[in-house]
């Protein structure tokens, strides 16, 4: 429901034309096709490095053609461009049509000394700024490497999904909740299925278009979207409850805190359930490759309690996900 619908005292006459959404089988069919398209594109990308290279090339060319700041967020390419543009060339391209060459020469000489004076200062400033940007970029890369953000996750198997018993437990916790439920990091939809079957309005998001495909084909509303971005873009009070799983095990403390803060906005009077393994129980390989990422249920509980939420730790029969964190935000 939109903010316009929710805002107190607003008479929103939603006309028939706008509200006559075709919420029927067509929606499920179109959703399935969309998921298949996104999964097929991802599969082709993984299968064929040449396609991947071509796609990058298409995006890179646009960054080269567009003015700085207008295209993409590929920092390295933008920095290259900033380097090239940082130097102002005072040698104005006046062309060489005969007849007025002497006049152009005179203009060039008169203007040159002043342009040189101004451009030297601007160039010096630009050079300092671009050097500074490069230093920031290098420093950021070092920090990313240290935090394992850059590629550590790629060396590990995907985080497993909880078993059906955990999913049933989550559904029973959220059964009385009103409003839409979102499952962030939904995978193939194990956590979405019982909620959907119970008639709760629910959708799942996961960054991996291939992983969600079986669930979509099963009729679940799963979308290939980055879970963090989905939560960040949610409107205030958009969700009645939020379930976060999978991707939360790759978050450092600052990112986890951001999830808590954004949940307070997106599900302001609702319930948040965190489904996570305990980093203390990880094997040696996972512990080292996922160092600094993932918080224990106890720490999640602490972060929510600090906001004034009523937090409960609920045990489960799944040895990978022994404890659920249930935070009631109202």
């Amino acid at each position: 429901m939109s903010r316009a619908d929710q805002a107190e005292g607003i008479c929103l006459v939603a006309c028939q034309a706008v509200t006559n959404a075709n919420a029927d089988d067509s929606q499920a069919y179109v959703n399935q096709v969309r998921a298949e398209i996104e999964a097929e594109a991802e599969a082709r990308r993984r299968r064929d490095p040449e396609l991947q290279r071509r796609e990058r090339e298409i995006e890179r060319v646009w960054i080269e053609v567009a003015p700085p700041g207008a295209a993409g967020d590929q920092g390295e390419l933008l920095l290259d461009r900033a380097d090239r543009l940082a130097t102002i060339d005072v040698d104005v391209p006046l062309g060489a049509k005969p007849g007025i060459r002497q006049l152009k020469g005179a203009i060039r000489k008169v203007a040159y000394w002043y342009l040189r004076y101004v451009s030297d200062q601007v160039n010096a400033l630009n050079n300092v700024l671009t050097r500074l940007l490069r230093r920031f970029d290098e420093r950021l890369s070092v920090l990313e490497d240290a935090a394992g953000i850059a590629d550590g996750g790629g060396l590990l198997d995907p985080i497993p999904e909880p078993d059906g018993a955990v999913a049933e437990l989550v559904a029973s916790i959220l059964g009385a909740q009103t409003g839409r439920t979102v499952v962030l990091g939904c995978g193939s939809g194990v956590l979405v299925r019982p909620l959907h079957d119970a008639g709760i309005a629910v959708h799942g998001v996961d960054v991996d278009a291939l992983v969600i495909l079986p669930g979509v084909r099963d009729g679940l509303d799963l979308r290939a979207v980055d879970p963090g971005a989905h939560l960040a873009e949610a409107r205030p009070g958009e969700f009645g409850s939020i379930v976060a799983a999978g991707f939360v095990e790759d978050l450092g403390p600052a990112s986890a805190q951001r999830i808590v803060e954004q949940s307070l906005v997106a599900a302001s009077n609702g319930t948040v359930v965190i489904v996570t393994g305990d980093p203390a129980e990880r094997g040696i390989v996972e512990r080292e490759l996922r160092a600094g990422r993932g918080l224990s249920p106890a720490t999640w509980a602490y972060l929510f309690e600090r906001t004034g939420a009523a937090v409960e730790l609920v045990g489960t029969p799944d040895p990978r996900f022994r404890t659920l964190v249930v935070a009631r935000l109202s």
């Binding site: 929103l12 939603a14 006309c15 075709n22 053609v65 207008a70």
Partner: protein, 344 residues
């Protein structure tokens, strides 16, 4: 008899706001009101227009069409007139800034005027829920939703060529409409569908963006597959609609997007990007993609071209969805949105 003043910066029949204003006039006239147009400059059309400096005594109802900063809105603010704002959205300046800094001032001004108008507005009417949310954020309290009025065209005549699929987009060439993503998609589609063409209808709102698009198509080796035909008359547009195989809209920002509805009405399957108002306007009658990486969009186009079941489904659902915005339905919605404002 009540006097209704319809305030529109410039009254033209060939732009969406102008056409909407003319049809809104008909609605008020049918209800027994006398309607006057107030504009910043005389109209090139055969319509009587009160030019702003001559607008001394406001009518019983004032309806301001708002899609960019205007002297009309400034006059309403200055005189604190009880206005009804008809909001068509304003392109966020950040889309325009890297390309045309000169246009930014008008956009920022328009958005600032929203906040200035809110305290003494009688009501606001938005084209879409998406636009309505912006009005609520700006402080409007009585916000209603009714779509843009325009004469939908009947078109059952399809002349698509399976050997040369045409991917169509209709809209001003402006950075928020992301024509570069359309070109990228055609480049990614080329290996599987080498004969596919991109046809773009719409005037160039930004010369620098248009030049970059031309250079981009050339660099990607698809310049021969991309046609920018500029603004066209109704008959030419109708002929393009009959030939299009897919309507592709990858805009980052739209307030309603009439061309999407026109495409659905013409029986063209729609692929759109999940941004701004597009999921609301398309409403499951088209493919709404969560990302617009070139390969994903190309895969979607290929699927729509090659899967007859999907194609038929989208065409059928699109026609149904377009019917929601037919002139009769939209007039009814607008009548309800302005209900109770005109007395006598």
């Amino acid at each position: 008899m009540s006097v209704v003043d319809l305030l529109v910066p410039e009254l033209k029949s060939n732009d969406a706001i102008g056409a909407h204003t003319l049809l809104l006039r008909d609605l008020f006239v049918e209800q027994g009101s006398m309607v006057r147009f107030v504009a910043e400059q005389p109209s090139s059309m055969d319509e009587d227009v009160i030019v702003l400096p001559a607008w001394k005594k406001p009518g019983d109802l004032i309806v301001l069409q708002h899609g960019i900063g205007s002297q009309l809105a400034a006059a309403v603010v200055r005189r604190q007139l009880p206005v009804v704002l008809n909001y068509h959205n304003i392109t966020p300046p950040e889309f325009v800034e890297p390309w045309d800094a000169a246009q930014v001032a008008g956009l920022r001004w328009g958005r600032a005027q929203l906040h200035q108008l809110a305290p003494f507005s009688r009501r606001a009417v938005a084209d879409s829920r998406y636009n309505a949310n912006e009005l609520v954020d700006a402080g409007f309290t009585d916000v209603r939703v009714a779509p843009v009025l325009w004469n939908t065209r009947e078109n059952d005549d399809r002349q698509t060529d399976r050997d040369t699929p045409v991917v169509l987009f209709v809209g001003r060439v402006a950075a928020n409409k992301c024509h570069h993503d359309l070109i990228a998609a055609i480049a990614a589609l080329r290996p599987s569908h080498p004969t596919a063409r991109l046809l773009v209808v719409g005037s160039a709102a930004s010369g620098s963006y248009q030049r970059a698009l031309d250079a981009y198509a050339k660099r990607l080796g698809v310049a021969d597959r991309v046609d920018f035909v500029g603004a066209v008359d109704d008959a030419t547009l109708a002929s393009y609609l009959t030939r299009a195989s897919v309507f592709l809209c990858l805009s980052e920002h739209e307030g309603f997007c009439v061309p999407v509805v026109e495409a659905m009405a013409a029986g063209i399957p729609v692929i759109a990007y999940d941004a701004a108002v597009l999921p609301e306007t398309v409403a499951h009658a088209g493919i709404v993609l969560g990302n617009k990486s070139p390969l994903t969009v190309a895969t979607a186009i290929a699927r729509v071209l090659d899967d007859p079941t999907l194609r038929k489904h989208l065409i059928d659902r699109g026609r149904l969805r377009a019917e929601d915005f037919s002139l009769a339905n939209s007039r009814e919605a607008n009548r309800a949105a302005y209900d109770g404002l005109v007395t006598g």
